[in-house]
Amino acid sequence: MHRTKNFLITLLLLILIPVTLLAQQNYTISGYINDSKSGETLLNATVRILNSSLATSTNAYGFYSISVPKGTHVLRSQLVGYSAFEQTLTVDKNITYNITMSTASQQLEEVTISSLSKSKNVDNPQMGVVNLNVSEIRKLPVVFGEKDILKTIQLLPGVASGGEGSANFYVRGGSGDQNLILLDEAIVYNASHLFGFFSTFNSDAIKDVNLYKGGIPAQYGGRASSVLDIAMLDGNAKKYAVEGGIGLIASRIKFDGPIVKDRGSFMISGRRTYADMFLLASKDETVKSSKLYFYDLNIKANYKFDDRNKLFLSGYFGQDVLGYGDLFRFDWGNATGTLRWNHIFTNKLFSNTSLIFSDFNYHVGINNDNSDFDISSRIQNINLKQDFQYYPSNRSTLKFGVHALDQTIKPASIDATDTSAVNSILIQKRRGLDLAAYISHEWSATDRLKLIYGLRMTNFMMLGPGSYYDFDAAGNPVQATDYKKGEIVQNYFNLEPRFSANYILRDNKSLKLSYNRNIQNLHQLTNSTSSLPTDQFVLSSRTIKPQIADQVALGYYQNFNNDRYEFSVESYYKNLSNQIDFKNGADLQANELLDGELVFGDGRAYGLEFFLKKRAGKLTGWLSYTLSKSERKFEAINNGAWFNARQDKTHNLSVVAMYQLSKTWTAGATFVYSTGDAVTLPAGKYAVDNRTVYYYTERNGSRMPNYHRLDLSMTYEPVANKDKRYYSSWSFGLYNAYARKNAYLIDFRDSETNPNITETYKVALFSLVPSVTWNFKF
């Protein structure tokens, strides 16, 4: 407790010093920016005072605050896809000014260049961040015609795909569990459906996505490599609307509207797949009665009490169901709930208080011959956050807050009947409390130099009750200690400095530098290539130390041709410590002594990322290329030598293009090329008991064949008829257009013609996959 007290005092000092230093006399214009048609708050919209260097942008809740000297000013706000908004304001006191912006006409033709907001690429001191607007990506081709945020981000530099059709991703050489995935601030533990082929994020319900690959701001913590912050739509505050789509594999429907016009709105969006319809074609009765589907539901409501107080309630619920007759049932899903209160204390001080709940669980039921048992596992958290944003002057923004995260893991336990052939096994629950406080100062030191510097302090405590083991170097338990409820088993205090600097060279050119340290206290143990819901989660413990990532990045940014093109090149070096792998033959299932099965080591990753984006015109899209390396080192693996991480991809190229063919038709294409995964392949063989056994030497010393694929799409969006409320559009897709048989996995077997020869074969998952989706709105 003593430590906690010191920690709070330090924090208070840190907050107060810069605030007193920076307080200035000026007037403030503040307010929210909303969409004129739907009333949705608009995030990341820029607000600037013309003929000055004064500028800011809306925060994650659509709020802005800008300080100006007394006088008459022209306020201009801009956002991609919206017509620029301008208003002359005479300022002689602090004023609250809410802005509504209208969407630009659908055709992105030359005339709309004026509405093209100035790209933040160059100006923003934040680096390593990508913002995706859902409307921006809706015409991209995707597998089965299902728009998917997690697949789209894989087309960005520094992000590697988790495999064919997979929603899993790796950021800058980090592991799959090092991505913090937030949906309306709630941690999403398992972001995929159907073993990774779909993400849990239904694009219909999503407003905005930010991916931080580096220079991660201090308000985020808990994962080592990246933050994917996803915001759900608030719902239409002006009128009721229904929209939906029918696709080959899933159907979607969304209903939103005002609760009280212009004061509050709600949104309900649901989706269900029907892959199991194909099972009905089987002759086998058991297969026919099998299940294979998922559904998810996003719900959100908000209410504005007055200009200062706004309440949001949002939730997600998704479930996958897989069953083989009555013999086997497997279901898993996430549930999240977020209650938020936005409060504006003064024109300069914005507060958000969040109470968040998140849960992921899976359940396996086996009813086979004489075995009759259930396996269930759950991870849950309650998260309380208090965040402040303070705008002391037009040169400074302060963000500070405190977070408390209480996580409980109930590892897979077996519940069997007395007559079953298996025994019940109950594995003890584990509980961890993460307390964090942060402060971050965004500061325009000069017109050319902008800085964001901050510090996050995390104190992780593993709490009792339970028996906790210590292990010797070989991983054998040496001693068990019992702890009472709430007793601290292990405490880890860490400081996470964050720093970003931007130096603007000349108009439209800048150099950025960043450093961040990230701490991770929740670890996912994966030993298969596909993301399985059964992957075990563990908290930092006496044996497992927090994962630490240190990253430095340097970048050059340039916009040209009137901001129509955006170019950047970023290089990074990331050092990872306390990385986790397994001992040979590790027993990860229902094992009380799991910690003893783990080995700990280091990681390093570095790379160079190129990104060129065309933001306007008939042809839009981007080109992304990454040259990178990601390695790991464990004493017990590969004789202690560095080896390639599985997701190490030397070359990774994506080309994304959308072309406006006519007023109604848009063509889209994506092409991806990447080096094959680093894999461990046999180097020798021998026969035991008349079976061929393979002999392995270097870990991940070989490569899968290189991966490449072209996807095409056509979108038909008729010009809206103003007399009709009803509107429909079509999209057609062709995944893997030249039917490349990319290896999903490779394996070895005795040749049929000569069993003494080993043959290598690959399994390709998808050949050419056509899709069609019909979307409607009324």
Binding site: K685, Y696, N756, V763
Partner: protein, 268 residues
């Protein structure tokens, strides 16, 4: 709208089939490693130990016998040594070694100036209560299994290994089990040949062995290897000095089922 319906029907006829292809991949060849397979049981007094070299992956599996090894087993209870003599094809034989339950045995293989050691403890045989044949439908396919029913001894670790031979074919590893999840329960093990289905009319030979933990680890590691493993590794072995293979002394019984027919039981 009519044309839309046409398009839908066209696209619903899409294919989602995965496919397999032989490919050429550059594999790195490893230098030959010593392999020792010493699987001793108490079914007969005649025992074999194989000593040979592994083959680089790109080469043909063939004769890689180690001919000049000295191979022996020492009973640690009474220090008696049993010498295994070379018989050709990498096989070393001994007649007369009678392992006993609870006995600790040490294997020593010397090849030139290199020595490989391992120790195995002979586990008591867990008797079966009954043996049945049954047919199960798995994904549209009927498969025949030989079911061993028995009561697992409670409060101790037990490990079971099964090898199976169809008709006149050689014995092949079939299954390995532990009792982690069913200690002390009435257990059924369904045994079949994973690569080569048992059909009615077959003669089936199964050797069921109670093995020790290290032998279980070897086979369990091999069995758990699949192309979806993140990083396959060599199975854990009780042999020292980097030798591949394993040393097992186990209590075993042989079960022969002649002329397999569903719904008829037979015993040895």
């Amino acid at each position: 709208m009519r044309s839309y319906l046409y398009i839908i029907s066209l696209f619903t006829a899409f294919s989602l089939s995965s496919c397999e292809d032989i490919i050429e991949l550059d594999l790195v060849d490893a230098a030959p490693q010593v392999v020792i397979v010493a699987d001793i049981n108490d079914i007969s007094l005649e025992h074999e130990i194989s000593v040979f070299n592994s083959i680089p992956i790109s080469q043909e599996l063939g004769n890689s016998a180690v001919e000049n090894a000295s191979v022996s087993i020492v009973s640690l209870a009474d220090n008696r040594e049993y010498i295994f003599n070379y018989q050709g094809k990498g096989i070393y034989k001994n007649r007369g070694f009678h392992p006993e339950v609870g006995g600790k045995y040490a294997l020593t293989v010397r090849i030139a100036d290199k020595q490989f050691d391992a120790v195995s403890t002979m586990q008591p045989y867990v008797e079966i209560d009954s043996l049945n044949l049954k047919s199960k439908t798995i994904f549209d396919e009927d498969r025949i299994f030989v079911t061993f029913s028995f009561k697992d001894p409670a409060n101790e670790l037990n490990f079971y290994k099964y090898s199976l031979a169809r008709n006149s074919q050689p014995l092949k590893f079939a299954a390995i089990y532990n009792d982690k999840f069913n200690d002390g329960r009435n257990i059924q093990h369904d045994i079949t040949d994973a690569d080569d289905d048992i059909v009615e009319g077959d003669d089936i030979t199964i050797i069921r062995t109670s093995v020790d933990e290290q032998v279980y680890n070897y086979w369990a590691d091999l069995r758990s290897l699949n192309p979806g493993s993140l990083a396959p590794a060599n199975p854990r072995t009780n042999l020292s000095n980097g030798a591949l293979g394993y040393f097992s002394v186990g209590a075993a019984k042989k079960y022969i089922i002649r002329n397999v027919a569903i719904n008829r039981n037979s015993n040895d």
